[in-house]
Each structure stands twice: as structure tokens, then as C-alpha cells.
Amino acid sequence: MAETTLAETTLAEEQAHDHPSDWAYVKIALLLAAITGVEVLTYFESAVTVFENNSVTIASLMVMMVVKFYMVAMYFMHLKHDNPLFTKLFVGGLVLATAVYVAALAAFEFWA
């Protein structure tokens, strides 16, 4: 009986580790909202002097975008806790999409 209880407890703990709790999801969403707030601040560049430089603005925006993308994919889409094959499929698509993007821009001499 004690073994069953221990097994059930362990299973419950494993499941708890498998997916974040509702409160953890709320905290992730609040963090995403905060990052979005900072992103929007960069638009009003006169309010934040650090963003007056265009290259700093673009680099900051790209980093924040990647962080938001990663958090949604890993936690809300459960890639962090799911089968690695799903991650490979999704990342494969992203890599191909990036290749399309680079090829299209190169073909039209975007950087020329």
C-alpha cells in the first residue's frame, strides 16, 4: 500500500514536472507582456535614450522577438517537455524558412 502511494506520488511529481502549473503559465505570460511593453517603448525612441541608435534598436528588438518566440514554443507549445522529434520538425521548418528568406533577399540583391 505504501509502495503504491509512493509510486503515485512519484508519478504526480513527474507529471508536475512535465508541464508547468497554471500559475507558471500566468508568470510566463506576464513576462511576455513585459517584453512586449519594452518592444513598444523602442518605438517611442525619444522616451528612451538608449534606443536612439537605430542599430541598437534593431538588435534589441530581434533579441526580444527571439526570446518571446522561444518562450511560447518551449512552454506554451510544450516543446521543452515533449518528444524531441517535434522540435526537429519545427526547427527544420524554421531553418528552411530562413533559407528561403536569405535566398529571396540574395536573389533580389537586397544587400547590394
Partner: protein, 208 residues
Amino acid sequence: MATATDAAVDTADHGHATSTGISNTKLAMWAFLGSECLLFGGLISTYLLYKTRRGPGPDNTVIPTDVFDIPFTSVSSFVLLMSSLTMVLALSAITRGDNPATRAWLLTTSMLGAIFIGGQVYEFTSFLREGVGYTHNPASSAFYTLTGFHGVHVSLGIVMLMSLFVASKQGKLRQEHSETVEIVGLYWHFVDVVWIFIFTVIYLIPVD
């Protein structure tokens, strides 16, 4: 050995055997989302190539970047971002077997999606009033195609969410069908991550 055990556990969970040991439906959705990355990759590339291409005539010189309303779009983006939270809470609720909470979160997600679409319709209407029509110049064509495709995806997502809501109301969506909610959720979150990309690259990055 561990793989065989994992497969057996998964079979017990989902009620059918698969050659990979994971759900075929979920695998198909991930493969679909991977291919969707390519679709949006092409559309975003096209927009970036044409974003500053004004029309030849005097009436076709206004491009979308001239009339962007960033505060308004920021609110829309926030709404869509929060719909990802309500979606994941719907999945969490059905996993616990809490059907009323599942319905409430599904409905909330649909409503937030509808607010986003309403905002997009308003944005398109105001752009048209400013003289930025679909065929006015290459920049506007690329913009409407990209954001329009995204809007269609959101609309399809709302249809799927409402179908789940109705199925739940009829008692056809229960705890054992949580994977269905998860798969619709994956689609919804994908639409959200695409917008995260569009919002930054199209709206926020300054155009020289």
C-alpha cells in the same frame, strides 16, 4: 527497451499503436506547422523586399509604413499574446477533467482572437481611407497579403476553437480527448508566434 516501454505507455494513453511511439495526429500537426514556417517565410521575405516600393502614379505613393498606428497594433498584439495564455489554460483544464473551465477558456481564447481580427479589419479600413489599397503599390500588396494570410489563419483557429466549445457543450469533448485540444492549441500558439515575428519585423523595426 526504454523505447518499447515508452511506446507501450503512449499506446495506453492514446488508445492506438504508432510506429514512432508518439501520436500520429500530433506528429502531423507539427509537420504541418513546420511547412507553415515556409509559407510565412516566403511572405515575410516578399514584404521586406517591397516594403518601400511606392507606386508610380501620384495617387499611389503612400505605403503602409507611412500610416502604421503602432499604439493600436501594440494593443492587438497584446490581446493575441494573452490568447495563448488562455489557450494553454484550456488545455490544462481539460487535462484535469474540468469541463466548465475548459469551455470558459476556449470561449475566452475565441473572443480574444475575434478582438484581434476586429482590430485588423479596423486597421485595413483605416489604411484604405488613407489611400493604401491592395493594388496601389507593391508595398501595400505585400503587406495586405502577409497580414491577410495571418488573419485567415487566426479566423480558422477561431472556427476550430468554437467547434471544440460546441463539442464540449454537447458532452463530446471530455478529459480523454485532451489531445484534440492540445493539437488545436499548437495551431493557435503557432499563429501567435508568427505574429510575434510580424509585429517586430514589419511594424517595429524602423524603416530608413
